[in-house]
Subunit: 511 residues, 2 copies
């Protein structure tokens, strides 16, 4: 075979390798482009004459001529009368050579992750040495964890299941755990089936999956204002726009959402209707129905975050949005981390069937599956009644702590301060006396050994007059001690003795 | 206060709440827009006269007039001579009401996740009952796991660390584990520091983080062709374009990448230079240097996937790209899952400092942290020498299995079949005799109790003449038995006895 025949043969093979149905001339264009793309046809190579190639392909010559014209028009080839058709030299990218390589040019910018989140992230580090009084963060008290139960469950798991417990698990999650979660939800009044439950590596991953499946960068998500700080961080990273909707004592202001939705195309509503983070507020049933009605009229899916809804200290449970949902448009997001073992990273998503498959495929692509050992442990804790036993215990303890926190605030806080009084959950929401800035208060509190979370962490913008306080992570006496210190700071600040408010740079290590 | 004064007061508060420095008239525009946005200024409300509002704000009247003009121009307000300025009725979205709500309209489409991946995903399910001979998937043999060591480490961890082992961990990962990984890498010739190691929930999550940080949807990633199937699934889900670059015996064809990079702006090169998945091929040092040189000239970061590089059965180790990298442009991705306990979901990313912080912030936003218990277990396995002991053991076992697989293919496969002969790793790559289709072969093999992975899983397009075979998951006798069955299928197919190739619909449950 001479060179021209070889080239014809290569083009024929390339055309024959193409999948699908297309007009012949387009197949030829694609086949030649593929050869160029793969570097097998280099610039300045003369393409076979249209006659020879048509003979080789067994096609009409006009088909080849047409394909060559398209290649020239698209900039892949050059032609001149009597010279034939040539593979065109492609222009080098106009980007100058980089020497040395710089990451700044290739990293996608952080979307609004700011220094304050770094401050909060230090809260999450393992304590070493002296530990501050922790009034920040929706976290359970590790000291209450039933460690003997855990040791028993782990040893039993290794003994009975052997190495299978340490392999890759199914993407959707362990069937036994999905059944336990579905049963739990159903008993609590939210009918659910195991095949609607997707197990994820903590509800944060569930949030990521749902938003990625439903919202594109630049599209708009309605969030409560204030809302969960790490949801804000995630939304910013995903490049979605946010429509912050205020709350009142009955929860999300559906009337304001209505106004916003008239102006903006809202792609998703992210809400924590029960014991909202950070305010602790619970949405009334009437408000929930109004929200579902609005969402149905506008065709907006709802992501309901159920993270601490089981921690009720008083009052009657309110049905979940999912339980009230007659149109199958609510995705429910849950986690065990607020009750037990956040270090196991087990959360779940309860999703209607059409979105379930889509979420499950994404889960597989981004994470393969959730830790199987973690899932088995949580499933056994559910099945053996250990989770409920622990839940009963922490509810009574957390209720006392909540009371201690409220008593402390009544006793030690200036009368100009205000706060929410939730019936459950992990956090409540303080409005500072006028003139005080929450970040300055936070920094001063940390200097005095008390960790609180400043308002701006929870807002799209603003929040300087608020603090979030958590009542779950410390025993009552420590909570009260922390509130007393915080009260001193507020009194000093309100009295104008705010020497501390300018000392930000002296803070040193915060925790 | 009358209504007009109340309104003026509300506007003043809204303007005063605005952060940052802006011209006065723009502050006023924003302040009023915020009130409308929040639903506090409803349509048809008459705005205060410019004179009254200017008095209230203590500004020049012309500033207010200017702001009102801007509001009218932007469609937020209407005005008429002598009538004043009014909040404009916003148009309802043109989208018709949806009744009932339909998920199909709100789910982002899967990007190229096809039925075949579903077939593969079944491989990952926990076996129940009779198990097929597993020649598919880069997975370790669970039966070799040192379960007694694990039980000891777990009990010791619970005893010594108590509930702290079950809390939220630091986002970057447990310091002890990061030090162990950095030390391991350094001893193996890839200098690394603990503060460059980010612990992730399996290397799949690391891949997701890196690509999200560096590549936007629509931008182009160069991948080996064939490449890791779940990387393809991830890339498709992220909506990035792919430039598939062929391999030869020395690995990635850098010359072809050069041609492609001249035409396309490549944002990232994803490569597995050692024991590539699925081919098992290892890139030569010369080729690695050429790749680094190209990447430096073009300013393209490299993501080096190190997943099974420690599983070397023969020959001398080749330095990682990261070890050869003088320009700090390689991110190294690793996992323990190919050696030990994939069910713990622990992987890691070794990243240069500028990109490290960015990845760590994204990790926090999408996952909070990796399972702390899993991290402690892996750290103790490293520190106590249990990982290396296990590695030594499985390397000798997997080397025998690889030999059994190769012997089996030499004995039972038709001479027209070809395959790679890697010096390590988990998989090798078969080219089928002409005329055979890999999907049809795969389906028939499954019917006969043998699980293999068909070529198209690993290609952007094509691959119908290839199979990926794994030699790690089964003992030698089962591997040989599987190869014998597969050999029968290939002989029957090559001889034209392909009755089975059309039976796809009868397959029933595949595993």
């Amino acid at each position: 075979m001479n060179r021209s025949d070889q080239l014809i043969q290569r083009i024929i093979t390339s055309v024959e390798d193409l999948p699908g149905e297309r007009p012949l001339n387009e197949r030829l264009v694609q086949g030649i482009k593929d050869l160029i793309f793969r570097g097998e046809l280099i610039p300045s190579t003369r393409l076979p004459s249209s006659r020879d190639l048509a003979l080789g392909l067994g096609w009409h010559r006009s088909t080849v001529v047409q394909a060559y014209r398209k290649l020239v028009a698209a900039g892949w080839a050059d032609s001149g009368v009597g010279r034939g058709t040539f593979v065109k030299q492609q222009q080098e990218s106009a980007t100058p050579l980089r020497e040395p390589f710089t990451w700044a040019e290739v990293i996608r910018q952080d979307e609004g992750l700011y220094e304050m989140e770094r401050v909060l992230s230090r809260n999450v580090a393992l304590p070493d040495g002296a530990s501050p009084i922790r009034l920040s963060g929706a976290i359970p008290d590790l000291r209450l964890f039933p460690m003997e139960d855990l040791a028993e469950v782990l040893n039993e798991t290794l003994r009975l299941r052997g190495p299978q417990a340490l392999g890759y698990g199914p993407t959707e999650g362990l069937t036994m755990l999905r059944e336990e979660i579905a049963g739990r939800l159903s008993r609590q009044g939210t009918p659910a089936r195991a095949d609607q439950i997707l197990i994820v590596q903590g509800s944060q991953q569930g949030l990521d999956l749902v938003v990625r499946r439903i919202v594109r960068p630049g599209e708009c998500v309605a969030v409560e204002s204030p809302t969960y700080s790490q949801a804000l961080a995630l939304f910013r990273n995903l490049g979605v726009r946010l429509a912050p909707i205020p709350l009142d004592e009955e929860g999300l202001r559906v009337d304001i959402l209505e106004t916003v939705a008239a102006r903006e195309k809202i792609r998703l509503i992210y809400t924590m209707p029960t014991f909202q983070n950070p305010t602790g507020l619970t949405q009334s049933v009437e408000r929930r129905r109004a929200l579902l009605d609005l969402a149905a009229r506008k065709g907006i899916p709802i992501l309901e975050d159920h993270f601490d809804a089981e921690l009720r200290y008083e009052g009657e449970p309110v049905p979940t949005l999912k339980a009230l949902d007659t149109r199958n448009q609510v995705i429910l997001l849950g986690t065990f981390s607020k009750i037990l073992f956040p270090g196991l990273r087990v959360g779940w998503v309860a999703a209607p069937e059409p979105v379930y498959d889509s979420l499950s495929r994404l889960m597989r692509a981004v994470a393969i599956s959730t830790s199987l050992l973690s899932q088995i442990v949580m499933a056994e804790f559910c099945a053996q009644g250990l989770l409920d036993r622990h839940l009963d215990r922490v509810i009574s303890i957390y209720a006392q702590r909540r009371k201690a926190l409220l008593d402390g605030m009544n006793e030690y806080f200036p009368p100009e301060a205000g706060w929410t009084n939730p019936q459950g959950g992990m956090t409540l929401w303080v409005t500072l006396p006028p003139g005080l800035n929450s970040v300055a208060v936070t920094m001063e509190a940390r200097r005095r050994g008390v960790s609180v979370a400043p308002g701006p962490l929870f807002f799209v913008e603003g929040g300087h007059r608020n603090l979030s306080l958590s009542s779950t992570a410390e025993p009552s006496d420590r909570l009260k001690q922390g509130i007393r210190i915080l009260g001193d700071i507020l009194y000093e600040g309100a009295a104008g003795e705010k020497g501390w408010s300018g000392k930000k740079s002296e803070a040193g290590p915060l925790l």
